[in-house]
């Protein structure tokens, strides 16, 4: 399983229970497709609390955080 949290304007894309099934070779980009999130809306990706890009391969049990641009002051 992968734990997925979508933040700010992406929150509605969070999967049910905050989890999705893992399969070998899955990348962050694949997860965006599975969750129907347009790539251009995701500006920041963290995997297990570390900054990563869309091509990062995921491992079973990874925690994924997806963020849009945030700049209110």
């Amino acid at each position: 399983m992968l734990e997925v949290k979508c933040f700010a304007t992406l929150q509605d894309h969070t999967p049910e229970g905050g989890k999705i099934d893992y399969r070998p070779g899955l990348t962050v980009r694949d997860v965006l497709k599975m969750l129907d999130i347009p790539e251009e809306e995701v500006k920041v990706v963290f995997v297990n609390g570390e900054y990563k890009d869309l091509d990062t391969s995921l491992q079973d049990g990874d925690r994924l955080g997806l963020f849009p641009a945030v700049g209110g002051g």
Partner: protein, 250 residues
């Protein structure tokens, strides 16, 4: 560029520094005692901080930096208060709608922090202006609303080796991060088209704005009292609706 400054004069400032050096805290800082030593209070009083933006984050940041005892605050904003600012901006009130935010902030600082030298710049800072001011400052606090200028401000501060503490808010979420000349920066959060940034959809409620401003100021206190920055190469991301505080490594 119009610049107006408040008190105090040089001899008052020297007298205060002398008192602090002899381990004596002036009465107006007595309740900082133990949390802040006289030596640290002297560091704060000798510091010059540039605050870019005097609206949501900027209002709270200025209030706290002045009350904690920062000696010189330079702050800029070309915007004027309007009704939609009343939900979150500390210095917005029904009696000052239409007035320049930096000028209102300056009047407020004069009332609450008589030892603070407040220098108001009632204009939007251009990058050229920022470059001119940077050598006069020990630290920059990014309280700008809008991703485009935030990214430019980070670039210019890194290029001129100036430490900057950035903060940003969207809805019940927000983050703080510190950036030095050689550190990583959260620039990706400020990428894309300004109108698509999350705060345009989710708004900027007062609790998120206040909390992120508080975290920025606490980080500033660490830097100005010569301690290690906690948000360097990291983002502290907060989801207030879940009481979730997350450290993210850049």
């Amino acid at each position: 560029m119009e610049v107006k400054s408040i008190l105090p004069n040089k001899s008052v400032r020297q007298k205060i520094l002398k008192e602090l050096k002899s381990q004596h805290l002036p009465n107006l800082w007595i309740k900082n005692s133990q949390a802040i030593s006289p030596k640290e209070q002297a560091c704060l009083f000798s510091s010059k901080v540039l605050v870019v933006g005097c609206g949501g984050l900027g209002g709270f940041v200025l209030e706290m930096l002045a009350r904690i005892g920062v000696g010189t605050l330079i702050f800029a904003d070309g915007d004027r208060f309007e009704e939609s600012n009343l939900n979150r901006q500390l210095y917005a009130s029904t009696s000052n709608l239409g007035q320049n935010k930096a000028k209102v902030a300056q009047a407020r600082l004069k009332q609450i922090a008589p030892l603070c030298r407040g220098i108001a710049i009632p204009r939007y800072l251009s990058l050229q202006n920022v470059v001119r001011i940077l050598p006069k400052c020990d630290l920059v606090l990014d309280c700008v609303g809008g991703i485009e200028f935030k990214a430019e401000l980070i670039h210019v501060c890194q290029k001129h080796q100036q430490t900057l503490i950035t903060g940003a808010v969207a809805g019940w979420e927000g983050f703080v991060s510190s950036i030095t000349a050689t550190s990583k920066s959260p620039l990706s959060f400020f990428s894309g088209v300004s109108t698509k940034s999350a705060e345009n959809t989710l708004g900027t409620p007062v609790t998120s704005v206040n909390l992120i401003a508080t975290l920025q100021v606490q980080e500033a206190i660490l830097w100005l009292t010569q301690k290690k920055l906690l948000c360097l190469d990291k983002v502290l991301y907060v989801s207030l609706d879940r009481f979730d505080f997350m450290w993210l490594k850049l």
